[in-house]
Symmetry: C2
Subunit: 246 residues, 2 copies
Amino acid sequence: MPTFFVERRNIEGDTALLSGTEAGHMLRSLRLSPGDSFFAFDEAGNRYRMRILEATSRSLRAEILESSPPEPPPAIEITLLVGLPKADKLDFILEKATELGCSRVIPFRSSRTIPRLGPQEARRKRMRWERVALAAAKQCGSGRVPEIPGLLSYPEAVAAGARSEGRVVLYEGVGRFGLKATLSGMGSPKSVSLLVGPEGGFSEDEVREAEAMGFVRAGLGQRILRVDTAALAALCMVTYHFEAEA
Amino acid sequence: MPTFFVERRNIEGDTALLSGTEAGHMLRSLRLSPGDSFFAFDEAGNRYRMRILEATSRSLRAEILESSPPEPPPAIEITLLVGLPKADKLDFILEKATELGCSRVIPFRSSRTIPRLGPQEARRKRMRWERVALAAAKQCGSGRVPEIPGLLSYPEAVAAGARSEGRVVLYEGVGRFGLKATLSGMGSPKSVSLLVGPEGGFSEDEVREAEAMGFVRAGLGQRILRVDTAALAALCMVTYHFEAEA
């Protein structure tokens, strides 16, 4: 899936000039050569399918085979509420959530959240999270960065998530999948919040607190998933469920 | 999602004794206490929902509220064929694929694969991949480790994937999703192969080579996904698609 960045000022008519590290990467690392096609996007989010016409050692000229306007906003606005995991797992979740078009990622601390962050560290982390999301948005060429309001308390997170039409709390139950039935029962919401517990899981009280705010309990089946896997899997599944057939 | 390991010999009737690092983790890191419930599994893959009855500083006694037999084999056997990515990304893919119940992971080298491994390094890597998958299987309590035949050539990988009833090659097309229609058109296969390109993408020839072996081209839409994200997203989506409603 080779996708590259091209500056708009280097596009003229139906040809584009790529140079610098981008061209170097394509020609040297990936060994692309004249005749090979690739995808590109520009700083406005326009997308292109191109084919290399000619290449020198450091730049290449490509023909635009197809172009399409910037990515439309996602069909469904997904808010991912996730119990702050240990180490850099949230960076990973943010990177993937950005690529997958998630609209909002809200890390929260709850009774069984393991990392304890002071207010200053939480602010530093938030800046880091914003950088990670921005880099991922740039890398995947969407220009769409999820909103990250910073680390919230559990009640704040649940209240923020309750603004979505569809609300799911992922809760590990022995042997029940449930997510499919839950999503099917939602009709066609414009927004969905996914509430995923921290490594220590939710307490029963916390699940009930979410249910009181309209969250529906659903499981991912037999699987015992790490926080990051659960968050990502749920995000992919919800995206898939509400994706229009092409 | 607190899930812990309990040895079968420490289960008697409807109570279980947990001690050692497992109990220490539960009591000290997660601050669980009498009355809290949690999930556990034993070495045979039996699953339990338990509630803490009493705890000392280093061990705890729990009541079994519910138990269920080992996880049945996945409803659908998924083979993930993935172009060898850079650095340790395959470790990550293996970890997540194992958690998600993937049956087989086959890394391959194709024309645009960036890492070049000699035969000795490939053997070393394979041992590492097996360790990663095993650790993930243990961690998620499934005992089910995906088969990893080692690094194959592209034709070998395509041939291995062609043994599945359903065959999809993920190919980035501008603006087409396609996966849903492709999966819906498959009916109820017992096995599905997912072919995901390396960082450099597939060449048109390679896509045609896969098509000649019965793979159907499908996209993941507007998204420009990293190899690991694409592999994982496709895996989650296929799992979701064929998952029975609970």
